[in-house]
Subunit: 368 residues, 3 copies
Amino acid sequence: MGGLLGRVAHRLADLAGLIGGQVEGDPDREVESVRTLEAAGPRDLAFLNHPRYRAEAVASRAAALLVSRDLAAGLRDGEPPRDLLVVAKSADVPLALSRLLTLFHAVEAPEPGIHPTAAVAPGCAIDPAAWIGPYAVIGAGSTVGARAEIHAHVVVGAGCTVGEGTVLHPHAVLYAGTEIGPRCIIHSGAVLGADGFGYATSGGAHHKVPQVGRVVLESDVEVGAGSTIDRATLGETRIGAGTKIDNLVQVGHNVQTGRHCILCGQAGIAGSTRLGDWVVLAGQAGVSGHIHLGTGAQVAAKSAALTSVEPGVQVAGIPAVELKRWRRQTVLLSRLEEMSRRLRALERRLPASAGDTAGDTLPEEGGD
Amino acid sequence: MGGLLGRVAHRLADLAGLIGGQVEGDPDREVESVRTLEAAGPRDLAFLNHPRYRAEAVASRAAALLVSRDLAAGLRDGEPPRDLLVVAKSADVPLALSRLLTLFHAVEAPEPGIHPTAAVAPGCAIDPAAWIGPYAVIGAGSTVGARAEIHAHVVVGAGCTVGEGTVLHPHAVLYAGTEIGPRCIIHSGAVLGADGFGYATSGGAHHKVPQVGRVVLESDVEVGAGSTIDRATLGETRIGAGTKIDNLVQVGHNVQTGRHCILCGQAGIAGSTRLGDWVVLAGQAGVSGHIHLGTGAQVAAKSAALTSVEPGVQVAGIPAVELKRWRRQTVLLSRLEEMSRRLRALERRLPASAGDTAGDTLPEEGGD
Amino acid sequence: MGGLLGRVAHRLADLAGLIGGQVEGDPDREVESVRTLEAAGPRDLAFLNHPRYRAEAVASRAAALLVSRDLAAGLRDGEPPRDLLVVAKSADVPLALSRLLTLFHAVEAPEPGIHPTAAVAPGCAIDPAAWIGPYAVIGAGSTVGARAEIHAHVVVGAGCTVGEGTVLHPHAVLYAGTEIGPRCIIHSGAVLGADGFGYATSGGAHHKVPQVGRVVLESDVEVGAGSTIDRATLGETRIGAGTKIDNLVQVGHNVQTGRHCILCGQAGIAGSTRLGDWVVLAGQAGVSGHIHLGTGAQVAAKSAALTSVEPGVQVAGIPAVELKRWRRQTVLLSRLEEMSRRLRALERRLPASAGDTAGDTLPEEGGD
């Protein structure tokens, strides 16, 4: 998995340039690592991007803090005073952190080449700048691009394509015909291209519908550990460029996602559903088959979108409704007990008369 | 994973015979592949089984369409006219498709034999017509039947049985003692026979209860990628013949399923629960331990069956209730806001008198 | 995976001593196996710890039954009479069972040593009493303790620590830098140390925040098949001593669990959340990020804890509320239809007057 490169010190002024921020304090202060507020010491940078962690920030022994303007006040106090690396708003902190961590914690790429224990079938085109690790198995006719890393025990089926700079972590599996674009990251235990779940039921038995399509990942897709993306029955299951998929997510056959979607842990999408760009499925969300989530639609955690969602709409609940409405329902649900008491109180104040009683006992279900 | 056999053209008349359908148009028209409506061209067959996709069918360049009688009207129009392969009803399309895909996309089985890198322990009985792939590991005393395929990196523990024609895809794992019947398919990352989740808690610590039972799959079972079926504490966890399990499904220890059950993606069954035949768990459904789902019972997507379900009953919700009742509850939930307004309106029209007020403010919780 | 040792017969009197129980019947009766009520025969012990299975116990052919005092009455009847191994209460049965199964079904540890096909990188410290199985891959600078078992196809990244007596089942994966304490069990397909799900979104694209922390498991942790525990962004994701994790559980980056927690199948914890000791997540439960579940808190099956939970509190529902309250809500939900009818009956008895009507039709949403 490559080793960490040696640590190098960087001046705060240089870091500010890198992230488009400003130094409050000593621009020549040097740091050589980014660590948590608790673990950081006099050679480390830490960060604060939520008031929730302010006390830890104040108590931190970090040499310097990355922080947004609105949270910076008072953080320089202390002895010795802390230096600050300030960005405009808290939403800027993650990008700054991304750049700083990339700088400080660069991972050394493995030396290109094919490990002697790797089993590469005839007819493969392995770029000389790619790395194939121990016990990796590459099926016939597959293509692996430059700077791709295929780690230990990865199985790439026949006729697959692995793009430039794509990393397949140990134990990732690509079934035959899978195509992965450039700069993707596939984590351990992810399975791409297994058969979709399709059967024809006849005479009480389920007859397998052969799944002869494939899986295509466009560029810059990340797939988390243990996630599964099924091949299409016919055609393609396709994951759009820049889409990020967390762990243990299930993507059914024939699904198409747009670009830059976010599928959080344990979310699931049933077959043939289409997602626009920038769709977000929060953790453990579920999406029915054969529906459409418009661009920018969001499904809340633990919710189930059973019908299509318009672009830009946030939904929640089971079945999912618009988020605002779900919130009101949730509040009302918590008041049901009170409503029940009030209803009873009204009934006491208004005893049913002889004439009323009839109406009360008539079956009304159909009319409700 | 074997290669695709070369393509062979087939006459529509012959295909109609295979699927028990009728040709509308030219019985001698030849096709050599089944493709999606969008991708199909003048040598391809496509299919339509839902009015939702009618526009795509009309626009398709497919030479011929597989379609049900009720959807066939008007589909021959066009220039050149399309030929139709018509089955009686839309429910017949999947079975027809299953047969056509099996014909057109037959996968060549790997040559029988044991790959030189496979590690087969002493005392195994490997049928000469079986295939053991690269880096597969087979534990002592295991049996592998004829035409079984054990793909790359599969681990079969000691004392396992793999039935005739069963396929274990790359990275499937069978713990010791697992028994798989004939014609099963186990996808990558599936784990059969790991320890059930059983502990005895004493003095605040959880002491492992050794799980010494095993997992048995009867014939024609399919297990999806990343699914887990735990071994029994004692005795067997058993999956009935013809049961199909999707991806990332969890089956707890001592569970017994009947025949021809369908467990959709990310469903879970807690320990010691029994399912009759033809039970369906929709996606992300959960089932409590130590209960019984009768033959033909169905649990809706995202629902949680916390108590036993009678045969043939469909349930939904958390906790799951009969589907009809859940639907009414869902409608009523959406009307809660309106009910709340109506309740308030009534209260305004009927101001509490001095005498009523007492009743209204008395605690009534116990009596509700 | 080691073989079962030969069976040895044990006297009931000796077994009673082992488990702190009493014999009712013949203390010299010998048994040599623990089996299910259905499968047990004249040389076997079976157990009963729930009245639900009493009929099976009565019908069992077991030579002896492990049972709690309250369930023992009448169980000696039969011809020949059964002997009983009686513990004080049903909660004692699992611990007794744990000890008996450990005695009867001891698994032979594999012979220490490194399999010739294992790929152990330079600079590793492998204890001579450890076992490294076929095709296992150990990265540079890793440490493996005495009596550890690293089964076939396990990948241990660079700089990992595997504690004494810890077992990594086939296909478990540890990313670089992961630390596993002594006596842990990691099941097949579990992935420890994959990247946390962290991105900085800028200009519509999600930029990866490098995840440079690690995963630490303290002692006596068990991780089920296919479960995933992500490395921290910075610092550690930490699983407390004695915590037991079932299959297909997702633990996000930076999560910290206390000791002796129980995370049931398919549960998920989002990033940076902290769990106290003895926290229980039931099956398919979800927990939001950045919150705190106090010591002894419990989240019910299929529930979603979206906010912090006080110590010792049981919560249920989506969003989760106190269990008692959730139960009342559930009951009230089931009565909604009846409430709706009663509301309508009241409205009939109290027709809106001209003055009332206005109030009824005014928009009141804001005031509700």
